[in-house]
Symmetry: C2
Subunit: 433 residues, 2 copies
């Protein structure tokens, strides 16, 4: 059986998962592809840390360059994360003619073009299945499975932490801060949760799917990103009453004028596949012009699911090495419009959920609807509840028909400046799926 030597940089949670899969499933991988993946060296700054798998001390080095410089190693697995040293490790490995497998979405979202271009120049491959959706084979599906399609839209639940928090808030009617604290205690959220709950992690993943779907490398900073901090149990409960769930979605749509791209909480109709994705699960709902609507669902993070994706890349590249095949996994950037093709959020058209906190007096509803009407926003339904016990103001909830976001922001500005408005009005976009 052919043996391919690989090296691992970063023996953290996912790294240990990779070590475990390569060891536990060595036999079945060998039967399926007729080769053996030999983990020859592991670089980590702390070899002595307690780990969930047994690793021979002799494999460890604290110096990644030892591994990158090892001529026998053909594939380098980068699981350090972040955009600093990881970038050097990957570019150094490419420079030395090594193939690379990585789960590093932040790095690819920011420096993907540079990295893929370097790999293309050196004729090596980059596997990045684990960068989006953990164990869900969405990279392969988008790049190869749907290759015959024009991609029309993608709606992804791509951050397990946010989905877990929103699910808990929905099921238990609890406040965001409260659920976040619990999630942190239970290990579902980081001590610094910002990457997850402010939508940045999902935006990194979205930017990778956009590369594959539209052949364009977006300026990451230009992608519209909102998190879930402003979502309240009150809005979740009104949405529920209207037949919707609130999910943090990473969204891209192909329009004649360009590409829409953004991460934000949105209302999705209950009973749809995407609305039913609960807890820490991920799902990517993709519509192609031939294939129609599809969805891939699974665990988007964690030691073993992510390792499943990393090892699938290792096996594919190792198989190509064995067969002396040319690489074929690098995305092509064929749309050089770059950020010019990104449609500004103020130009998007969608439906909106609106909640106004207003004085409970005659004429207020008329003033709100009048202002919306003047700005070309028509209303589909209204919920106005009776007087709030112990308070002089009440919530008024509306769902609009499709409207331009610019018009909505203008109207909300005007409404927020009215004396009858007691708190900043809330708007959440609605996605029809």
């Amino acid at each position: 059986m052919d043996v391919i030597d690989v090296g691992l940089i970063g023996a953290g949670t996912v790294g240990c998962g990779v070590i475990k899969v390569l060891s536990d499933n060595r036999d079945i991988i060998g039967k399926r592809v007729g080769l053996e993946i030999n983990l020859k060296k592991i670089a980590d700054i702390d070899p002595d840390r307690k780990r969930p798998v047994k690793i021979p001390k002799s494999l460890f080095t604290t110096d990644a360059s030892e591994l990158i410089g090892d001529r026998s190693i053909q594939i380098v697995i980068e699981l350090v994360g972040g955009t600093t040293v990881a970038k050097d490790f990957i570019l150094g490995s490419i420079e030395n003619g090594k193939h690379v497998v990585t789960a590093n979405k932040a790095l690819l979202a920011h420096y993907g073009k540079e990295i893929f271009s370097a790999a293309s120049t050196k004729g090596v491959d980059i596997g990045f299945e684990a960068s989006v959706g953990g164990g869900i084979p969405i990279i392969k599906a988008t790049k190869e499975g749907y290759v015959a399609n024009r991609i029309i839209s993608i709606h992804g639940i791509m951050n397990g932490t946010s989905n877990y928090i929103l699910s808990k808030m929905t099921e238990e009617g609890r406040e965001f801060d409260d659920v976040l604290k619990q999630a942190q205690n239970e290990g579902y959220a980081e001590a610094d949760p910002s990457f997850d709950i402010d939508g940045i992690d999902a935006a990194h993943k979205l930017s990778i799917l956009i590369m594959l779907s539209f052949g364009v490398f977006l300026d990451f900073e230009k992608i519209h990103v909102e998190g879930i901090r402003y979502i309240t149990p009150l809005d979740i409960s009104f949405a529920d009453e209207l037949g919707y769930a609130i999910k943090l979605l990473a969204i891209t749509k192909s329009r004649d004028e360009g590409i829409e791209a953004g991460v934000y909480p949105a209302l999705v109709q209950k009973g749809t596949q995407i609305a039913d994705v609960s807890g820490a699960f991920n799902a990517i709902y993709l519509v192609g012009d031939s294939v129609g609507p599809t969805m891939l669902y699974g665990m988007g993070a964690g030691m073993m699911p992510t390792a499943s994706a990393v090892v699938s890349d290792i096996v594919q590249i190792a198989n190509n090495v064995k067969l002396k095949n040319s690489h074929s996994s690098l995305p092509k950037f064929y749309d050089d419009g770059e950020s010019s093709t990104l449609i500004s959020m103020t130009e998007i058209m969608t439906k909106y959920y609106l909640r106004f906190q207003v004085e409970d007096k005659p004429g207020v509803l008329g003033q709100i609807t009048g202002c919306l009407g003047r700005n070309n926003i028509s209303i589909e339904s209204v919920i106005q509840k009776g007087r709030h016990l112990g308070g002089g103001d009440v919530p008024v909830v509306m769902m609009t028909h499709e409207a331009k976001e610019k018009d909505l922001l203008t109207a909300l500005d005007e409404i927020n400046n009215s004396s009858f408005v007691k708190a900043k009005s809330v708007f959440i976009r609605i996605e029809d799926l």
Copy 2:
């Protein structure tokens, strides 16, 4: 740009979809993979039939051997279906050193070993993504995406016609025959619907997923296959009351003693991803030891979704031809236990939904539970409704704990022979997902 010549045998619905995708999306495919797929010849017994796409008459031949013998054609797309001439076309193409793309599940379920072995000998590739789940990239996911996993189980809704009929029966409380007739009128079911509603089509697809998951080529005739003809609105409504939906599932599970494999209607808990798959959609719920539970969802049939899968295979093989890569898509049969590894249905352990139609008199319930108990079957819950208006017999519904199927069949035999039983007792398996 490199041009790869391909030939199509069978310009029916899916064939026309392939022609349309290759033409409509020629530009985007070219940008993504840097090659052009040139449809050089089409073999069909009826070139003059009215078709949904415009095809130059000059492309047609009525003689498939003309295409199979054309030295310039590197990939043959077989979309004739069936297990007779299609087999000759495919083996002939392989013999002539051509790669093959096919959607033919029946052929692969029956003759897959022979065909893959012939392809391996000649060093050509077989693409069969379209054979399971239409546009859903489940073949690629199972073979490559989950290559690092031991597959634990698969539960597939893989026949759109059956799922459509069961969904309609559930939503509208109508009888099977009635809904089938409507489905036939609307084009959701064939004039001879047996392949679909008797589970055979789903079993063909299951047998392909088993090849990829377990490396074993099962004797197709030994797979347990039930259809949906015996499902009644009464059982659907009792299941609903118990919190379950009834779905036709293609199921395989890996056990220490071997592989379970079968197609049958089963109760699945409402609110799970698989229970929510309605209408003509397909979904494959797969659990791997590393990746955990995953699901792929989409349109499992139809002109364009199936064409999406066929063209993805064409592109992948064409790309390998262009890069002069060795083929890598053929499944390996590494478990030669063959049918010996298939666990007999009488040996499976599962929970059951039971419905007895019995005389409404004292002691009957006790006799039933007594008989079940003597056969090691314990009961989780019972629904016994009041006297049926205008009749002397009533339905008694039970859900059991896990029991051995052999024991259940013994108990049912005894119960069915009792004088208080007025109709053959119904049992439907329950799947925990």
